[in-house]
């Protein structure tokens, strides 16, 4: 069937609703990448079989949906039950018959599968009561976890394409632009450029042919919101792009997806095929006379292709080398034609903005940063996963209330945001409301919403070196400051972590950082020094310890760190089992000893020690002892 008018869409929507409501009870199995890794597919299949065998689908209107990521990947596989609003965590396939028996038929809870609050150890049954979910407000991720991403009708039942229908039949392209302007939405890819302004700039560029692109090259390590959106609700991306194309008068679109995201490619491809089939994409969309089609392009694995001009070159089949953007890509982008490129999350929000109105979106967030923002909360935090919150939420609320605090209740040291272009924010700034401006002021940036929590076992020099090493590998090599500068910067950091640092190294790092910031061609090089400068700003003493004392305060830099077991060791024998070099000797219930010759300072023992009896100290002291 093809939808050929506004009324036909309404009928299709009603049909989808009826079908959805026909299922009085639903089991939602999270099939995001995280849960799939822990066996969600088997769980979903087990539910399907069990229900078929018992004919529950007919009798009680029970249905199973494999949905996108629920976000709470840490506790996967996740299974939610509607209408009860119940959530089971860490569900295994073999548990399925028991769940059907007890929970579905017997309507009783299985306490062992409920979420346990790490803060007060209480078990929580209701989805909405779990702090991780309770505090969220979802716009871009509105349907993720609620719908089956491979089922168009399910998406439509949850208002997918309602915004598009409104745009096509009730609004002119300029009215769509005005609505987006009212929303105040800014780009969710990192830099935070105003969406409506970007669109207007493209629209005013001369020429008949223009492109609408979606940046799904989520390269920031530690961020995976775009992945979850593309996997869990691909239709929201398509809908946003079609609306954008309608506003701009574009007829061709591309989605550039990282090759590391195979499931996202599959789900997007499927969504495109489905949408074309019913006339939501392609020629004469919904009979409105508007034509627009989308193609998927898989990236080749290059972080720099997240940069707009590099992405466009990559789309054209070339190496991902950025160009100077003195002439904006809105005027001269893909194939040198006017182009709008927005991030996945940006596009995913457009449908909701048009559907509910720009003012609805603008009512959320802060003065300059409107709406909600998706973050991936990861690292040394108890509840890791994907969240969406109004702009202006404080870091403390995110890390402690939603994230449940630092893993193992260790001291908090910093939170890294913005990926390799961002910076590390220290404890004293935890009450910072998160928006574009505040993060930039703190020496970091929004980036693609990765938040990596770091505890006292994280060395800030090592973290800065990690990002420099990452970028050294990812620099395209076109411009001198980035190519040569990163290489030299990495060399300087190697000196520090190996205890070869000397006075003046910090100043040398700072001077090079300044040259790279000013001189580099694209944002990759220009922002590459951010992790360096922010760690220098807030954790300078750690740098000084590496240089002056040849010591790594966090006990991470191996070349200069030694390990020792303290007398309070209870001889549990956990550490020798994990030691990769068999450097730990000791019989059970007796004090264990580390052989410094064999020890490679990897820290595996410290991580497993239940009594915190292993300490690190500068290797240099070891040499001093020997001399004595």
């Amino acid at each position: 069937m093809r939808i050929e008018s506004s009324d036909q869409f309404k009928a299709y929507h009603a049909e989808a609703r009826t079908r959805d409501e026909g299922l009085t009870r639903k089991i939602l199995v999270c099939c995001g990448t995280g849960c799939l890794a822990t066996g969600a597919k088997e769980v979903a299949e087990a539910f399907v079989h069990e229900i078929e065998d018992r004919k529950l689908d007919v009798e009680v209107g029970l249905g199973v949906k494999s949905t996108g990521c629920h976000g709470f990947c840490e506790r996967g596989p996740l299974v939610a039950f509607l209408p009860e609003g119940l959530l089971y965590t860490k569900v295994k396939a073999k548990k399925v018959p028991e769940i059907i028996e007890k929970t579905i038929i017997g309507r009783e809870l299985i306490p062992g599968l409920l979420y346990k609050n790490p803060v007060n150890k209480e078990r929580i049954a209701a989805y909405d009561e779990i702090p991780f979910y309770k505090n969220q407000v979802r716009v871009a991720m509105r349907n993720i976890g609620r719908i089956d991403p491979t089922d168009l009708m399910d998406a439509v039942a949850h208002d997918a394409y309602a915004g598009l229908a409104k745009a096509l039949f009730e609004m002119t392209p300029d009215e769509v632009l005005d609505e987006v302007e009212t929303s105040g939405q800014r780009g969710r890819g990192g830099a935070g450029f105003n969406t409506a302004r970007k669109w207007r700039s493209c629209k005013s560029a001369p020429g008949d042919r223009r492109f609408v692109l979606c940046n799904g090259d989520e390269g920031d390590p530690g961020a995976f919101k775009d992945r979850s959106i593309m996997e869990g609700d691909p239709h929201s991306v398509l809908e946003g792009m079609i609306i954008g194309a309608y506003a701009l008068g574009a007829h061709e679109g591309y989605i550039y997806v990282r090759d590391e995201y195979p499931l996202a490619v599959v789900n997007l491809q499927l969504a495109i095929i489905e949408a074309r089939k019913v006339g939501l994409l392609g020629e004469n969309i919904m009979g409105s006379g508007f034509d627009f089609d989308i193609q998927i392009s898989r990236g080749g694995g290059a972080f720099v292709c997240g940069e707009s001009s590099a992405l466009m070159r990559s789309l054209a089949g070339m190496t991902g080398e950025p160009r100077a953007k003195y002439v904006h890509s809105t005027a001269k982008g893909l194939f040198d034609l006017p182009t709008v490129l927005n991030n996945v999350e940006t596009w995913a929000g457009i449908g909701a903005i048009v559907h509910h109105g720009g003012a609805w979106f603008a009512a959320m967030g802060t003065d300059k940063s409107k709406g909600t923002k998706a973050f991936s909360l990861v690292g040394k935090v108890k509840n890791t996963g994907l969240i969406e919150l109004p702009m202006g939420t404080t870091l403390r609320h995110i890390i402690y209330d939603i994230g449940g605090g630092v893993l193992k209740d260790r001291p908090f040291k910093a939170v890294q945001t913005g990926g390799p272009s961002g910076g590390c924010i220290p404890e004293e700034l935890l009450d910072l409301p998160v928006d574009y401006e505040k993060l930039t002021e703190a020496g970091s940036m929004m980036g693609s919403g990765g938040m990596i929590v770091m505890d006292d076992r994280t060395c800030m020099v090592d973290v800065a070196r990690y990002f420099i090493a990452f970028l050294t590998e990812e620099s395209c090599g076109k411009c001198t400051p980035c190519r040569e500068g990163l290489k030299q910067m990495l060399g300087l950091y190697d000196r520090l972590i190996e205890g070869r640092g000397t006075d003046g190294d910090i100043e040398k790092i700072e001077a090079l950082a300044a040259g790279m910031q000013l001189g580099s061609l694209c944002e990759l090089g220009k922002s590459a020094p951010n992790p360096v400068l922010s760690t220098l700003k807030y954790f300078r003493s750690e740098y000084e310890a590496h240089i002056k004392d040849h010591a790594c305060p966090a006990g991470i830099c191996r070349e200069i760190t030694a390990f020792e077991i303290m007398p309070d060791c209870d001889g549990c024998h956990a550490c020798p089992k994990v030691c990769p070099t068999d450097a730990i000797a000791g019989t059970k219930k007796e004090l264990h000893v580390i052989d410094h010759e064999a020890c490679i300072s990897c820290g595996a023992c410290l991580d497993v020690c239940p009594t915190d009896s292993i300490r690190t100290f500068p290797k240099i002291e070891l040499a001093a002892e020997e001399v004595v």
Binding site: A302, Q488, G491
Partner: protein, 254 residues
Amino acid sequence: MPTLTVNGRKVTVGDDVYILEACRAAGVEVPTLCNFDGLEPWGGCRLCVVDMSLEKWDDDWFKLVTACNHPVEEGMTVVTDSERVLATRRVVLDLLLARCPDTPLIQRLAAELGVDETSYEKNPEHTDCILCGLCTRVCDHIGVSAIASTDRGWGREIAPPFNEPPPDCIGCLACAEVCPTDHIPFATSNVKRTIWGKDFEMLRDPKTGEAVITKAQAEHFAERSGVPMTYFETSDKSKRLEVAKTFEKLQVVK
């Protein structure tokens, strides 16, 4: 025809001109390594950075841009010798000097900015290649694209495919001629030319026997430009002789 100010001097230039050309028109020298007049600006070496301010901006607001590829605008102010311009150029040359410590051109440019010795770790492997990309861009212009950049980041190199004699190369030497550091070796004799490890047969003038150009080059250009192949087969000297002979025949007054 926009008028702009370069280092306090007013200069009027053409419409589709970049800052670098305006600087030259104003008699201001801006160093550059990857720019070449016949080729599209590339903006890779970052040596030509200048401070730039537009009329609509606040007076004290300047942006550091590359002169080679930033279009001029009416009322623009350009400063080529501000402290941060020089500091940035110094970092660029310092880094290039670490990469190519023995390359005379880099030594000279660095010394002009007061960098006599690199402050960074010297490249243990000798190279004169500064990755300015001129060779590959010229090769693209010639229309053969026999060489290109390979790998990325620090590992970036200019190389023929598979690091073997490039099948598409026509031996025209354009890459070697344009290379600012003379990094690309070649050899030409009366019968043979070798570049990128590939040997080329030379076309030889039928009368004098001297080498004209490579056969591959003649074939490529004959096809590309529509100029008959016969044009390429004789030396310029022989061709002048032919012209002279024709002229003699055309004498109207004996």
